[in-house]
Amino acid sequence: VKVPSRTFAIVLAWLVFERLRITGVIPLLVVSIGLAIAMRYAIQFFFGPDYQQFPTPIERPHDFGLFKLTTVQMTTIAVAVIVVLALRLVLVYTKLGRILRALADNPTLCEVAGIDTTLFRAIAWMVIVGLAAIAGVLLGLNFVIQPTMGWDFFIPIFSAAILGGVGNVQGALAGSLLIGLTQEYSTLILPPAYKEIVSFVVLALCLFVRPNGIWSRRR
């Protein structure tokens, strides 16, 4: 299931973001929202609006004293940590990673230096879509899934990314952990329905203190 869906997503991303050659932050933002709406409802069109679940067996959680974890949860954590470490290693120590970071900093200079920017942008897309797909599968293993659930996640995701620092791999992990824990512990004093609102408040506070993002060096 994963391989065809990933190729499909890569082709789609390439089509939309490369062939249309849309530049500028706002047009890109609106386009990606358009793409998100189209994809969600395409899924709904083919598979129906109902909740679905991976056929994972019911199991008794392993007791670690402080924590109780199921095998699925342990796998999820392990996969997340491994993927983040791998991504960091690739970005920092390989030629590919250097090129990608250079591309983010200064595309024109890359072009001048003889780097095939189109090719590497495509590779970046592959990595991005792959990561999102892994996250989606892990989510599906842990919870029930539904075509239009995406709206519920974008606030926590953006909060975590901005809190961790845009372009900072281990920051993303730290930011996500912080947002996740804040959300869960907020349920001690607030009704659980307000979880996303809590992460929105965190996001707002972050941006209020540092309008260009938490770790930005610009301006």
Binding site: P27, L29, V31, A38, Y41
Partner: protein, 306 residues
């Protein structure tokens, strides 16, 4: 002596009910498109949460009129709350980079919808508020020429006001803020003030549209105010043309005529069940947005902006 309605008469009545209801919806939505176009087209504010202000108007009217207050109170309180919310959102986020601003407004709209779903004492939660009084008693639930006249007058007034504002010195300043913030600052205009002004004006208009909507459909539920509604408005705005006030009305009319037209696929022997048709519409909205951005960019590249 009452005349028994013939089948033909009934059919004609049904058709005119339907057409009138589409016209009313187009007028109300045009108000929202107008407000967004004033914000994005004229002033360059990337508001991705316009549905929030629309929802504020709807809920203000719904809550207050079902509690027995007169209609005008609902409309005015709605506009005031929307303005306060606009100031709050604007002051805390307008000094951000525009991409962060877009995310924050989108988030604001989602948070507001979550609040509407959870603050049951105020909004009756997910089941919504029903029984909002109608302005007039027409011959059918959704048929009222008087109400149509009210929304047309509201739309014309808003259109006139927006056109006056854009043609005025204020409108020039707003466009200057959009095109070159630094140049605007150089001639002593504070961009933040003018962005805030445009945000508030748009928020008020959207809230008015929301009040009219609540009194038209006579029930509100949180699910009417998902972010997809914001992007319908974005699409209508881009069809009509950025910065063109009359275009907003045209764009909205075209978009909603097309969406409504999809109902007749069934008559043309294209059989799709209702939930799939709904999904298909949203797919078209998504793809339409992408296409419109592309077209807009080609056009504005010639004009040398965006």
């Amino acid at each position: 002596v009452s005349v028994r309605p013939t089948e033909r008469n009934l059919e004609q009545a049904a058709v005119s009910n339907y057409l009138l209801s589409i016209a009313v919806v187009i007028c109300i939505q045009s108000l929202v498109t107008l407000s967004l176009n004033f914000q994005f087209g004229i002033t360059g504010i990337v508001n991705c949460g316009q549905v929030a202000f629309f929802a504020i108007g709807s809920y203000a009217s719904a809550i207050l009129t079902t509690a027995g207050y007169p209609l005008a109170v609902g409309v005015i309180v709605g506009i005031l709350v929307a303005i306060v919310a606009g100031i709050a959102v604007g002051l805390s986020t307008l000094r951000l980079r525009e991409d962060y601003f877009a995310i924050m407004t989108l988030g604001f709209a989602e948070v507001l919808r979550m609040l509407a779903r959870n603050l049951s004492w105020l909004t009756s939660g997910p089941s919504g508020i029903a029984g909002i009084p109608k302005l007039f008693n027409g011959r059918d639930q959704y048929y009222s020429l008087e109400f149509f006249a009210v929304v047309v007058v509201a739309l014309l007034l808003a259109l006139g006001a927006c056109n006056l504002l854009t043609a005025s010195p204020l409108g020039r300043t707003l466009r200057a803020v959009r095109d070159d913030e630094i140049a605007a600052m150089a001639i002593g205009k504070n961009p933040l003030h003018f962005r805030l002004l445009a945000l508030i004006w748009g928020a008020g208009l959207a809230s008015l549209a929301g009040s009219l909507w609540a009194h038209y459909v006579s029930y509100v539920v949180p699910d009417q105010f998902t972010s997809e509604a914001t992007f319908y408005v974005w699409m209508a705005m881009m069809i009509g043309g950025l910065g063109s006030m009359i275009g907003s009305v045209g764009g909205t009319a075209l978009l909603f005529a097309l969406l409504e037209g999809s109902r007749f696929l069934d008559d043309m022997n294209v059989h799709i069940d209702a939930s799939r048709l709904a999904s298909l519409r949203q797919i078209l909205i998504g793809l339409g947005l992408i296409l419109l951005i592309k077209l807009e960019r080609n056009r504005s590249r010639r004009l040398g902006r965006l």
